[in-house]
């Protein structure tokens, strides 16, 4: 048996969308099978999940909050992935953003007026994330180091750094020994838009539009595309490939840092151990599933945010362990990857 791969010369939008749609369906089919094997009622579970995540107010609020965090990181990753720079460090950059925000909100400028903090803190988060992404960017450009391993390692370092702070000098004396900082002053909290949904939910929507314009209409967007397609061609046509790699990675990390800042200001209101339930990794699925299209990324993150919330509800209502969300994400990840191959290649099976 041999698999034969023929590259598709032209791939249409309709094909892309339908294959990605099929990947999600396939993931659900496999997941259904898994639920049946483990003796649980999958359809009851889906009903509970989707009803809570998208139709009930408290669940929908949760979905929107998670949408906001996921889509922002995802948009940052899209920028880097377009250039085929594999930034796997969204998680660490998210942590760094939240950390710098906490530093500013609790220790440096706790007394600044609300209106200043509203702009200063996200900027701080952005800078935190972009500095964290500067490390792999410089290592890639100057030393030729592989950005994948570096960003991955930096995720762990960032998480441990946050732990070091919240178990150590940043720990709130009034937290009864829990590894968390004190709560932010009121002036550092984001205003609510709807229920528990903070105003930061609008950021990814604006960002997606900006990103789309940048990618489709500007010189930077054009250069990103050319470098992603073929760095040699880009170099020979006089583009500054190195500068663009640094710029893109730093922007990408900065956006993930911004997401961390908004999450700290709008949801957690403090820094704590295990601040992120793996948003940076889920954002990789977002980028892949949306085919690196910023607008599609918004819908994909809303859907995945809902799945996150749905799995939390399952734990409460049906006593399903929360680990089920990782199983689903793992399956979805694989299915999306296969879909990606099907979009790029026509596969023939020779028996």
């Amino acid at each position: 048996m041999k698999l034969k791969f023929e590259p598709r010369i032209e791939s249409s939008k309709v094909l892309e969308v339908s294959i990605m749609f099929m990947s999600v369906i396939l993931a659900f089919l496999i997941f259904t099978l898994f639920m049946l094997i483990t003796g649980r009622d999958p359809f009851g579970a889906y009903k509970t999940m989707f009803f809570w995540a998208f139709a009930k107010k408290v669940g929908l609020e949760g979905s929107l909050i998670k949408f906001s965090a996921l889509s922002t990181i995802g948009l940052g990753l899209i920028l880097a992935f377009r250039m085929k720079v594999w930034n796997i460090g969204g998680e660490g950059q998210f942590y760094l953003g939240a950390m710098v925000t906490t530093l500013l909100a609790l220790f440096w400028f706790p007394h600044l007026p609300h209106i200043f903090l509203l702009f200063l803190l996200p900027l701080g988060g952005f800078i935190g994330g972009s500095l964290w992404a500067l490390i792999p960017a410089l290592m890639k450009v100057c030393l030729g180091a592989d950005e994948i391993v570096v960003t991955l390692m930096l995720n762990y370092i960032a998480m441990l750094w946050v732990d070091y702070l919240v178990y150590g000098s940043w720990r709130d004396p009034a937290s009864f020994g829990f590894p968390m900082t004190a709560i932010f002053p009121e002036s550092a909290k984001l205003p609510y838009l709807w229920g528990k949904v903070h105003i930061g939910v609008l950021v990814p929507i604006v960002l997606a539009i900006v990103l789309r314009v940048v990618l489709e209409r500007t010189k930077l967007g054009y250069e990103i595309k050319v470098i992603g397609d073929n760095p040699d061609v880009a170099f020979c046509s006089g583009m500054n490939v190195k500068r663009n790699i640094i710029l893109t990675l730093v922007l990408s990390g900065g956006i993930a840092g911004l997401s961390g800042a908004l999450y700290a200001m709008g949801v957690q209101h403090r820094l704590q151990h295990a601040f992120s339930p793996g948003y940076g990794y889920t954002a990789i699925i977002v980028a892949w599933l949306s085919r690196l299209n910023p607008i599609a990324a918004l819908f994909v993150s809303f859907f995945l945010g809902g799945i996150f919330v749905g799995c939390e509800i399952l734990q409460i209502v049906m006593k399903v362990p929360t680990s089920v969300v990782y199983i689903f994400q793992g399956i979805l990840f694989f299915c999306v990857l296969i879909g990606d191959v099907l979009i790029r290649y026509r596969i023939r099976l020779n028996l």
């Binding site: 698999l3 034969k4 791969f5 023929e6 590259p7 483990t38 594999w86 796997i88 490390i135 290592m139 030393l143 030729g144 180091a145 592989d146 994948i148 391993v149 570096v150 991955l152 390692m153 930096l154 762990y156 370092i157 441990l160 750094w161 732990d163 070091y164 178990y167 150590g168 793996g278 990794y281 990789i284 892949w288 362990p321 929360t322 680990s323 089920v324 969300v325 990782y326 199983i327 689903f328 994400q329 793992g330 399956i331 990840f333 694989f334 990857l337 296969i338 990606d340 191959v341």
Partner: protein
């Protein structure tokens, strides 16, 4: 004191050693498997369940090998046959492993199962110092004493090992001289997955002696780093693993003595070191000299010129 530290280093280094050896096989064939963390977790749970159900540690080992092999086979199918992005597939495997072990493991938290016990080798374990350090361990540690030189011999001195290296170096030429690239990759990715899962089983059957959720605690990622340290060489992998195992146990000792070093900073060390090492060995000429597989992360297809 020194004796105790060395003994502990070997114990703590052994799970890392299994995972590192496993990853060396996969990477030597040109496949980067970032799913080590997930494989270790599944191995740890499968080992525990096997030992619990059959009241036999060896059945636990067998079950860990089988599940690790099965998951790695799935990974090989996707990355070798379907040529999906290896990095992302590895992350997916880790997520799946975390999910599966957390999901099925819940029923086994707090349970006890038969454990590996230390086996004092006659005569050898009485040799002063060395006896205690090297020969007062459980069978899974002794197994590595054979496995490491064997792996080294296999990779560098046998014909099969040569084709393994050829596939990881230049799959096109390997294919041209009649080596079945896909077969070699399938074989070694699966073998690697089995060894990694065995490293996980060591945790639940010998090291911690119970099942705890997320018990691999980042060891899978450290093993990814150790492969780079050891320059894809099993003998150096042994040293690197014991060094890190030693660091881990030394850290506990320092803390017990009341020194004021944060465990979180010490835990950062392997990741920081990996980045430092990467910055030294990333240049093309150095990678060539230490024998890094050139075709790492590059899927291979006979029909295509560019791969």
């Amino acid at each position: 004191m020194l004796e105790a530290i060395f003994t502990a280093a070997i114990r703590a280094g052994t799970p890392l050693l299994y995972a590192t050896l496993g990853e060396i096989f996969a990477e030597r064939s040109g496949v980067l498997n970032l799913g080590l963390e997930g494989l270790m977790l599944v191995g740890a749970l499968a080992g525990f369940i096997g030992s619990y159900l059959a009241s036999s540690v060896w059945f636990g080992v067998l079950l860990a090998l089988l599940t690790g092999g099965a998951l790695a086979l799935l990974f090989a199918f996707l990355t070798v046959s379907f040529r999906v992005n290896q990095v992302v597939a590895g992350l997916a495997l880790t997520m799946l492993g975390m999910g599966i072990s957390g999901y099925y493991g819940q029923a086994f938290i707090g349970k006890t199962a038969p454990q590996f016990s230390s086996l004092y080798i006659p005569f050898l374990s009485h040799v002063p110092f060395i006896g205690k350090v090297l020969f007062s361990h459980d069978p899974l540690v002794y197994l590595t004493y054979f496995l490491v030189p064997l792996s080294w011999f296999y990779i560098f001195k046998t014909k099969l090992g040569m084709s393994l290296r050829a596939v990881g170096e230049d799959p096109r030429s390997a294919d041209a001289v009649g080596i079945n690239v896909a077969k070699v990759r399938y074989l070694h990715v699966t073998l690697g997955g089995m060894l990694t899962a065995l490293g996980g089983a060591y945790l639940s059957l010998a090291y911690t002696s119970m099942w705890i959720e997320n018990m691999s605690a980042g060891r899978g990622w450290i093993a990814v780093a150790l492969v780079i340290f050891s320059a894809w060489d099993p003998l150096r992998a042994l040293l690197a693993s014991y060094l890190f195992g030693g660091m881990a146990s030394l850290q506990l000792r320092i803390q017990a003595m009341g020194a004021e070093i944060s465990p979180h900073l010490l835990m950062m060390l392997p990741y920081v070191l990996t980045i430092v090492v990467l910055s030294f060995i990333s240049s093309e000429s150095v990678r060539k000299r230490i024998g890094a597989p050139t075709a790492l992360m590059k899927p291979y297809a006979r029909e295509e010129r560019e791969y």
